[in-house]
């Protein structure tokens, strides 16, 4: 509770940044659009079939489904790590499938991705892991310093900047991963099972951070199979099952015990 005023000032800083687009793209009603997307992996016989999904700017969306239903693949299609066999994936109006090389890199600078396995570099401190995003985009050192501390404070890691990932708990590592995803002031945050490896308290803490970021205007898409999280999240839910997508409201999801 004592951190509330501090967190508020940090939020204001981040909010200013997120309202300054990193590239001069015009505003779109939809942050993400998937139209008739098909994706087949021949080796595993896995397929996404005829996926249609519109995610509005500033929306908070859960993507649920059993393991292997294609939740992660759906996010990968959005940030361009996988390409659709058919159909179209648009992020802020840009067709991701048509982007290659530097144009894809520029799109990714407007996204933040949180991974289930965190993908933190084990030899680097939390500060290095987070600032690395900005440094690898050629942002000057003083600007990196200016953004780093507010971001770490936002996720509650202000005093862990010099710790190595192995010195952090699972929840802290996930929050470091979130800090890395948001330090570049993204307009869209994709989180792949961000609470998958966390206990209940840490999961709620992470959810709280993601909801707060959403309040700043950042579009958030989370994949999860944690129904309790979905119930607490109070947001629209897209359910994947056997490669097909069905959009539900949070009330339509059957709650379960945490």
């Amino acid at each position: 509770m004592t951190q509330a005023p501090l967190r508020q000032s940090v939020i204001e800083t981040i909010l200013q940044e997120s309202q300054t687009p990193t590239s001069p793209t015009k505003e779109h009603a939809y942050s993400v659009q998937l139209r008739g997307v098909n994706k087949v992996f021949l080796q595993t016989q896995f397929r996404l079939q005829n996926i249609h999904l519109n995610v509005r700017q500033g929306e908070f969306l859960f993507i649920t489904g059993p393991s292997g239903s294609g939740k992660s693949t759906l996010l990968k299609l959005i940030y361009g790590e996988e390409r659709a066999d058919q159909g179209e994936v648009r992020v802020e109006g840009q067709n991701v499938g048509g982007l290659r090389g530097n144009r894809l890199s520029m799109l990714r600078r407007r996204l933040g991705v949180v991974f289930q396995d965190y993908k933190l570099i084990s030899r680097w401190t939390v500060a290095e892991n987070v600032s690395f995003v900005l440094r690898s985009q050629g942002i000057p050192r003083d600007e990196v310093e200016r953004r780093l501390q507010p971001t770490l404070r936002l996720v509650g890691l202000g005093n862990k900047a010099n710790c190595l990932p192995c010195q952090l708990s699972g929840g802290e590592q996930q929050r470091a991963s979130i800090a890395r995803a948001i330090v570049g002031s993204p307009r869209l945050l994709l989180a792949d099972e961000p609470t998958g490896n966390l206990d209940h308290d840490n999961a709620m803490q992470v959810l709280g951070i993601l909801k707060k970021l959403n309040e700043l205007g950042i579009t958030v898409m989370i994949t999860t199979h944690d129904l309790y999280l979905i119930e607490r999240g109070q947001a629209r839910v897209a359910h994947l099952n056997q490669g097909r997508l069905e959009v539900l409201s949070s009330e339509q999801v059957t709650p379960c015990e945490p």
Binding site: G101, R108, K119, F132, S136, Q137, G138
Partner: protein, 311 residues
């Protein structure tokens, strides 16, 4: 004024940030390379050292040939019974002859012993029984082109035992130089391929060791150029490091050879002068080594990252 200065200051700052980042990433990559760095640098050093030796020798021999070629002279060695002055008179009447000098065998013997560094001339002569040399006529031709025909005519002059002329020796030296050049080009080509292969492997191992960082960099929007340029700079560093070492070894070897030759007899001392490079060549040699090293380093690293960057 202020509105003009700000963007310039901003772009200079951005450029400095980029240079600083690339430098740091290159150093980080070199640290990750560990002993593989030395494998790459030492291979480039060996390659460039041999290349430098070859180039330097070629320059030195070319200089020697040029120097000797401008001073063509024919030596006539007389039979022991011949009278040098008589033969000198006969030879002087040939139209292609500009000048004839007689070198008595005693003078030639003393000169040879002086060149060999023998101080006790009489002792050596007594040891051999007698002076083994014969009188020699040194003929200067009016033109270089007339030498072969003049040589065949002079060989038929009574009292002349054998004829030799420097052009022949020059030709042998030129042939030897050409042969050495061919061998060194073959060796240098082979070593170039080896150095490129070693650098490619080294950089590839560093890329694999850093795959996690590279993956995250790609996902957070770093461009291919930004990700892979440090690896190219590492290749360049291998090339430049190898070239610098090779140059140091070349200079040290040359100085050591000169130092050794200055303590030797006269004719070997003249070789020490031949080892000296022209001022232009002394400047050109490190430039060529650095350029060649850079090209080898860049080629190796380009081959290494090409495979990854095209994924």
């Amino acid at each position: 004024m202020r509105t003009v200065r700000m963007p310039l200051r901003g772009s200079a700052k951005l450029a400095w940030t980029q240079v600083e980042y690339l430098g740091q990433e290159t150093l980080r990559g070199l640290q990750r390379g560990g002993w593989m760095n030395w494998a790459a640098i030492s291979t480039v050093t060996v390659l460039l050292f041999l290349f430098g030796i070859s180039l330097q020798t070629s320059w030195q021999v070319s200089g020697l040939l040029q120097q000797m070629g401008s001073n063509v002279q024919i030596s006539l060695y007389l039979i022991p019974e011949a009278d040098g002055e008589v033969v000198q008179g006969t030879v002087g009447q040939f139209p292609g002859v500009a000048n004839v000098e007689i070198v008595p065998k005693e003078q030639a013997w003393q000169g040879l012993l002086a060149d060999l560094g023998a101080a006790d001339i009489e002792g050596v002569t007594e040891g051999l029984g007698e002076n083994p040399l014969v009188d020699e006529l040194v003929v200067r031709a009016r033109s270089v082109g007339a030498v072969p025909q003049l040589v065949s005519s002079l060989a038929r002059v009574p009292g002349v035992d054998s004829v030799s002329y420097l052009d022949e020796a020059l030709q042998h030296l030129a042939d030897l130089n050409q042969g050495l050049s061919r061998v060194s080009w073959a060796v240098v080509s082979l070593l170039t391929l080896t150095a490129i292969a070693v650098i490619t492997t080294t950089i590839r191992l560093i890329v694999i060791a850093r795959h996690q960082e590279i993956e995250v960099m790609q996902l957070v929007g770093a461009t291919h150029t930004w990700i892979y340029l440090p690896f190219l700079l590492q290749g360049l560093a291998f090339g430049l490091g190898g070239a610098a070492l090779a140059w140091v070894f070349l200079v040290a070897t040359r100085q050591f050879a000169q130092h050794l030759l200055t303590r030797q007899p006269n004719f070997l001392q003249t070789l020490a002068h031949g080892l000296q490079l022209q001022p232009g060549q002394a400047l050109l040699l490190p430039i060529i080594l650095l350029t060649f090293g850079s090209l080898v380093g860049l080629s190796g690293s380009l081959l290494a990252v090409r495979r990854f960057s095209l994924r």
